[in-house]
Amino acid sequence: MNGPLIVQSDKTLLLEVDHPSADECRRAIAPFAELERAPEHIHTYRVTPLGLWNARAAGHDAEQVVDALVKYSRYPVPHALLIDVAETMARYGRLRLVKHPTHGLVLETSDRPVLHEVLRSKKVHPLVGARLDEDTVVVHPSERGQIKQVLLKLGWPAEDLAGYVDGEAHPIELREDGWALRPYQQQAVQGFWHGGSGVVVLPCGAGKTLVGAGAMAEAKATTLILVTNTVSARQWKHELVRRTSLTEDEIGEYSGTRKEIRPVTIATYQVLTTKRKGVYPHLELFDSRDWGLIVYDEVHLLPAPVFKFTADLQARRRLGLTATLVREDGRESDVFSLIGPKRFDAPWKEIEAQGYIAPADCVEVRVNLTDSERLAYATAEADEKYRYCATTATKRHVIEALVARHKGQQTLVIGQYIDQLDELGEHLDAPVIKGETTNAQREKLFDAFRAGEISVLVVSKVANFSIDLPEATVAIQVSGTFGSRQEEAQRLGRVLRPKADGHKAHFYSVVARDTIDQDFAAHRQRFLAEQGYAYRIADADDILTGDEV
């Protein structure tokens, strides 16, 4: 009775990481529990119905779950919780989606009352066709995703045994010359491939693109890759050409400027969700080829229309890639039901410990507003308050001091408000990249930054995602999209690429003291703090006087 695990009444599991059998325990609970927080000493996992059903889908049964809980728990596990686990897991698989030799896709059950119950639901009704017999009902093939989603919400998740289409075959090989997939990338690819579809969660800079490439090499079929923006699309292309047997000609870009459809096509979310006269003209891209694999980059940003369309693609393999499954809109469960369960994740700190991402030093710098600024802040309109305190002039001195402190190191200054960025660019004598900067100009500036010709770059939120700035060592965040946790994670990701000389990355958040800027910062930092990236808090005065912080 001295295990590493403590089972809480709210179904969270606390794992003491320094315990000798912590690793063993983590492996035992990972199949069914979601890692929620991973700070230094005690990691928090959560047991959810979704997690339990995913475990069932992956072939674990209730007994294993109960055994794992009982075996590693420090205190006796409440009986009610064990019963609840068993009952929840028993709900999975009562309904099955299978291919019927003559009727196509059908929903069948081994528990008649359950089928009866779900068929009575108004939401299920439009998705099903004729009832073949007491235990079987026809499902419209196009509603495969929809019905899975609805059944999940009704608490009777269906086991999808209808399989996948292979799609149009296309040879793709990884070209591992002088490099190889890292062990965790390998695990992620395998986890995904054996599960069929699903989401891989890896920290920024941990090489998610390679996981995608690995999955493509497994599928050896035509692939549709959905990314957030054009820059990111180019990067994918670049990386694929470098790392796989694919050639430039085999990879198409489907974006606002180019509309190529090739065996491997990279499309942006933006172009897919462009609406003209009430329809999404580009959604037909999904049907334009017999895709064997669909990769969703930054799946936490997947826009709602794509969600809806994804529901219709249940017969194709789907891979979601993301750094955080935190969605500010709370639609995590849609990701799970439509793209698939989480197939792999690893605590950031663990990958850092393996040396694949750079260790980072996160510092929150608190700036004291001047008396006149405080008065102005107090009288500002509620909807202007954040903008005011996030862009105060006092911050500028601190930012200048920080840039000066890291002189010679590649530094990114990231912010939300264009006025502030322009002003900063002027004072720091650094180029500014914002929404209106052309793609060509952006690429040019990024190249210059990569080459070390420019050492300071001021960027707006356009640089939040998927741009590869390998040698950025210092990031200074001056303002953000209110309290967005995933933005914070993405921004930190900018500096986590391993450094050639192996030194530490620095991430600064400049925050106005005693304002809502500080509250938002606290909210934004929570995700990273829970990933073990604890912020230190420093006073602006110490920075200005050049003290060690």
């Binding site: 403590i6 000493h41 928090t44 006796p76």
Partner: protein, 828 residues
């Protein structure tokens, strides 16, 4: 027959002797012949008989024969004893033991039943439902009336009236026809005709021979009626049918008397025939042995105790948290009593649990006397002083208090949220939650679990089957349903309270049945040892990997918000929580020290920074209370006042050069300043500060609610002994041979005077015999009168009787009857 009946309850007026027969002739006599222990056993089995203590054995026997008491006694019988009573009710009276045994075992016989029967009969004797020797077993008349078949309610055995009873209304001619058609020789009168038919139907071979000739379909009709109800509906049942003219199978049976008419459209299968057809068995499935409660799952005793202890600990903590939340005022009491649904929801949210569970914890706290209504004008719930006492106890004792209160409570928390018969929602802590069945069911379920092997759990269905056997309720489906739910709830609640672990009774749960203190002692070593440290993390959380020492938990509870509970507690530090700690009088340095002392890990920088940052701003604004102030533009004057010794009692303090704050009322202040020679002017009262007191709210002393059982409590040994002694003494006095009192001349003399016991006994006897009585009666206005009545029914302190004097049926209050006297033959 009348004299037979009469004996059972006949007043022991000294005229009874031992008689010719060897056995007792009345129940009273039977009781008299039993030892003190047997009488004590009766009183123990039927505690309602002790309240009030009966005057003598005759009175005891009389009271044991009342309907209400007999019904109660029947309700407490197990299924086999009840089946035995039911069999006796359809058996001849008196009934030899062998006949009874045959009725239960049937023609085939059954070792099991034969073995179980003596115990059942003994139980019935103990309960004074059956008396007499084995050769003449007598069922108490009331019980027989309750259980014997009548057209309104067929016997529970499904047997109908006897041939004699069914043929009572038939014409002698018709009877002779039936006798002839049944192939019997003609008899000379109806009585012998009935006897002949009875003999025919009771004889297995002759009945079989008769039925062998029956046309097709007759057997099906009999099969349908065989196990009851014995009545069937047919057209023209009362029409006299002859064998020669019988067309349908029913007519064939009617002609031969196998079926007898019971009404114009009803036929019945007489008891003898049905019994023969059943193979002599009164019950289709006699259940001599209680159903087993098989172990459902078995766990290591250590696992069970550990799990239960964990739950017990959680239970205590939950109740504490619940009641603590009401420290500064609990929810309001609804006008109809209880807590509103909204408050229940709020409580559930505060406890982070469901409403059902919240209701359970509330009721448990209430049952243990920890919360109660404060009885103020705006009635609200609040912790009782008993709660403070409870808090001071060690955890195991606190648990024992809760568990013992739960075990004995008649309130059923599971009912909260359901609707009563009038459609009103039953509120938590509200009225109408008492179910007298509850404590019995709870205790019995735990006892059954205690009887199972160590570490074995049982399924609620099996437990319920056993309870159903042990006490077949006569209250109908609703009551049975309630019991089924109570069993379910008991199993769940026992788990929640940590009485059971994984469904099996824990060691301390076992002790709880006999001695809560021993249970506490047994639980103590199993409870987790309180810790003196926490783990601090940079995401501003602290994890206490187990229960904390009370002092530590209290301080941490102020300094941080609880985020997750269970085996461990997760705390989160926020600016608000840190401010709360500073408000409570801690300084930043103290907090740093506290964290450093209790953390196993270095204090993370963001946490120290947070404390300093909040402390930096804390207290920059100051708020205080003053009763009055003194304002003056000339600060020299104020200095003068401050320096003046006469101003010492005013509680003056300088807030600013030109302002003094005072702790005395403006009037006092004004007067004092005037006596000091100043000429102050009063200012309007604005800025006066109200002082609020934040005392913890408590009710006046409140006792825990008393359980409401459905009968008088079981008498304890002392009371029992005293009662038996008293009854014996009374009995000796009553039965001592004495000279017959001078018979009062019935008419024209003074009112008869009898004691109330005698009155009751005589009236009850008269009900049975149907004899008229002469009574003295005082009406509501106090006017005395004499009447001649024929009592029909005695119930609830009233006699319903036909009044010869006024020629009507009316009721008389027993306590107003001043005396009774049987009428002599010549007067009738």
């Amino acid at each position: 027959m009348t004299t037979e009946r009469n004996r059972e309850v006949r007043v022991a007026s000294g005229v009874e002797g031992t008689g010719a027969g060897s056995g007792p002739r009345t129940l009273a006599e039977d009781l008299r012949a039993r030892g003190d222990d047997a009488v004590a056993a009766l009183l123990l089995a039927r505690p309602d008989l002790v309240n009030p203590v009966p005057g003598d054995l005759t009175q005891l026997a009389t009271r044991a024969g009342t309907r209400a008491s007999v019904v109660r006694a029947l309700e407490h019988l197990d299924r086999f004893a009840l089946q035995t009573v039911e069999a006796l009710a359809v058996a001849p009276d008196p009934c030899p033991y062998d006949t009874l045994c045959a009725l239960l075992t049937g023609d085939e016989g059954s070792q099991e039943i034969a073995a179980a029967l003596p115990a059942a009969v003994a139980t019935l004797r103990t309960n004074a439902l059956v008396w007499g020797g084995d050769d003449r077993l007598r069922l108490v008349r009331t019980a027989r009336d309750l259980l014997a078949p009548s057209p309104a309610a067929p016997s529970p055995t499904g047997l109908g009236p006897t041939v004699a009873e069914a043929a009572a209304g038939m014409s002698p001619g018709r009877l002779q026809q039936i006798v002839a058609d049944a192939g019997l020789p003609a008899t000379h009168d109806p009585v012998s005709a009935v006897a002949a038919l009875t003999a025919l139907f009771s004889d297995r071979q002759r009945l079989a021979a008769l039925l062998a000739e029956a046309p097709e379909g007759a057997r099906a009709v009999l099969d349908k009626l065989m196990w009851g109800p014995p009545y069937g509906e047919v057209a023209l049942a009362a029409e006299p049918v002859r064998a020669a003219t019988a067309e349908t199978p029913v007519q064939w049976l009617l002609a031969r008397g196998v079926l007898l008419p019971a009404g114009p459209h009803t036929v019945l299968l007489p008891r003898e025939t049905a019994l023969r057809l059943r193979g002599g068995r009164a019950h289709r499935s006699p259940e001599p042995l209680p159903p087993e409660v098989p172990p459902h799952a078995r766990y290591d005793a250590q696992v069970v105790d550990g799990t239960a202890a964990g739950e017990a600990f959680t239970a205590v903590r939950t109740v504490e948290e619940l009641v603590k939340g009401w420290d500064t005022g609990g929810p309001l009491v609804l006008r109809a009593g209880g807590m509103s649904v909204r408050d229940l929801k709020r409580t559930a949210a505060a406890l982070d649990t469901t409403e059902e569970l919240a209701a359970f914890w509330l009721e448990t706290a209430y049952a243990a006397g920890l919360v109660a209504s404060d009885g103020e004008v705006d009635e609200a719930y609040a912790p009782t002083p008993g709660y403070d006492e409870w808090l001071r106890l060690p955890t195991e004792d606190r648990w024992a208090r809760l568990a013992a209160a739960w075990l004995a409570a008649t309130r059923a928390p599971g009912l909260v949220g359901s609707r009563d018969a009038k459609g009103r929602t039953l509120a938590a802590l509200g009225p109408d939650l008492d179910r007298s069945l509850a404590p019995g069911v709870r205790r019995r379920v735990l006892e059954l679990l205690a009887g199972a092997p160590d570490g074995a759990s049982a399924r609620p269905e099996d437990l319920l089957a056993r309870l159903r056997w042990e006490r077949p309720l006569r209250g109908g489906a609703a009551l049975d349903e309630l019991r089924a739910r109570l069993v379910q709830w008991t199993v769940q609640e026992a788990e929640l309270l940590g009485v059971t672990g994984r469904g099996a009774l824990s060691g301390h749960g076992r002790e709880l049945l006999t001695d809560p203190d021993a249970a506490a002692a047994r639980l103590a070593p199993l409870l987790p040892e309180p810790l003196d440290h926490v783990l601090l993390q940079a995401d501003l959380t602290a994890v206490a990997p187990g229960p904390l020492r009370t002092a530590l938990a209290e301080t941490l509870g102020v300094l941080a918000d609880v985020e997750s509970k269970g085996g461990a507690t997760v705390y989160r530090f926020t600016p608000e929580s840190v401010r709360r700690a500073l408000d409570a009088g801690r300084t930043a340095a103290e907090l740093h020290g506290f964290l450093a002392a209790h953390s196993r890990t270095p204090v993370p920088q963001p946490l120290s920074y947070l404390i300093d940052d909040v402390a930096r701003r804390h207290g920059r604004l100051r708020v205080g209370a003053a009763s009055a102030y003194v304002r003056c533009d000339d600060d020299a004057v104020l200095s003068e006042i401050l320096a003046d010794r006469r101003a010492a009692g005013l509680g003056l303090r300088r807030l600013a050069p030109t302002v003094l704050a005072a702790q005395s009322e403006p009037v006092t202040l004004l007067e004092r300043l005037r006596t000091m020679g100043f000429a102050p002017a009063a200012e309007s009262a604005e800025g006066d500060v109200l002082i609020t007191r934040a005392d913890a709210r408590r009710t006046p002393p409140r006792a825990a609610p008393v359980p409401v059982p459905d009968g008088p409590p079981r008498p304890d040994q002392t009371l029992l002994a005293a009662a038996v002694k008293a009854i014996r003494a009374g009995d000796r006095a009553a039965t001592a041979p004495r000279k017959p009192a001078a018979q009062p001349a019935p008419h024209g003399s003074a009112l008869p005077r009898t004691t109330s016991a005698e009155t009751l006994a005589t009236v009850q006897a008269a009900v049975l015999t149907g004899e008229p009585l002469w009574i003295g009666y005082v009406n509501a206005d106090g006017a005395a009168s004499q009447r001649v009545i024929e009592p029909v029914k005695v119930e609830g302190g009233f006699v319903t009787a036909y009044d010869h004097t006024t020629d009507e049926v009316r009721t008389y209050a027993l306590h107003r009857i001043t005396g009774v006297c049987e009428l002599t033959e010549d007067v009738r």
